[in-house]
C-alpha cells in the first residue's frame, strides 16, 4: 500500500501493514525533517504532492519491489503539507523471509520514490528565504524564479 497523507504518519499503524507470518525480517526506513541542508539552517519544510499521479506511481514502484526482491510485503507513506523539524516525512516498511531482500527492497523503494514520484519539497531557511529543492540541478540545489 502506498499513500499520501496530510496528517502525522502513524508509524505503529503502518508497521502492522507489513506483518506477515512468513516473514522473519522487517526493515523500516523513516525520513525526518532535519534542521539543515547544504550548510544552510532550515526552519521548516513544505511538501507539495500531485496526489493522483503520486499514488499511481508509488503503487507501481511497490509492485516493482515485490517482483524484484524476495519479500513478502511492502508499504510506503509520504506526508504532504507543512512540516516541522523532526517530523516524519516518509516511512517505508518491508517484510520478508530474510534480511538481505528486505534491506535491498527498502533501499530500492526510497531511492526510486525520490526520483520518480511527483512530490516537491520547499525548504524555508533561517534567513527568511525559501527554495524548491532540485537534486538534478548542477551547482544550484534550490531553484527560485522571480
Amino acid at each position: 500500500m502506498f499513500a499520501v497523507v496530510r496528517e502525522a504518519i502513524d508509524v505503529t499503524r503502518w508497521n502492522r501493514l507489513v506483518e506477515d507470518d512468513s516473514a522473519g525480517a522487517f526493515v523500516f526506513f523513516e525520513g525526518r525533517v532535519r534542521d539543515n541542508a547544504e550548510g544552510r539552517k532550515v526552519q521548516s519544510l513544505a511538501y507539495e504532492v500531485y496526489d493522483v499521479l503520486a499514488e499511481k506511481e508509488g503503487a507501481r514502484l511497490l509492485h516493482e519491489a515485490l517482483a524484484r526482491f524476495p519479500i513478502a510485503r511492502a508499504a510506503c507513506v509520504h506526508r504532504a503539507g507543512h512540516l516541522s523539524i523532526g517530523d516524519t516525512a516518509v516511512w517505508v516498511g518491508v517484510s520478508g523471509a530474510h534480511r538481505t531482500g528486505a534491506f535491498e527492497a527498502c533501499r530500492f523503494i526510497i531511492d526510486e520514490l525520490k526520483q520518480r514520484v511527483p512530490i516537491w519539497k520547499k525548504e524555508f531557511y533561517a534567513e527568511g528565504d525559501s527554495g524548491w529543492v532540485d537534486h538534478s540541478a548542477v551547482g544550484a540545489r534550490a531553484v527560485r524564479q522571480p
Partner: protein, 90 residues
Amino acid sequence: MPKGRPSVSEPKSVSLDYFAIFREVRKKDRETISTSAGTLGELYEELRERYHFLLPQASLRVAVNDEFASWDSLLSEGDRVTFIPPVAGG
C-alpha cells in the same frame, strides 16, 4: 519559436494543472488556455515564451490526464496537462 516550425494544428482548449514552482510563477493552480501546439513539447515551449518559465524542457516530465506522457505525444482537445518540475520526495 526556438527551433524548427511547430506542427500547425487547429487551436484547442486544454487545461493546465500547476504544481510547485509553476504554481508560484503563475500564481494559480489551474487554468484553461487555447493553443495551436500540436505536441506536449510544443505546448511547453509556447508557454515558456508566454509566461517566461525558466526551467528547460529537458529538466521536466509531463503528464496528461493523470498519467506520465512523452513530449512528442499529440495534444487533444480537453486534455489536462501537468508539467512536472524536478521531484524531491523523501
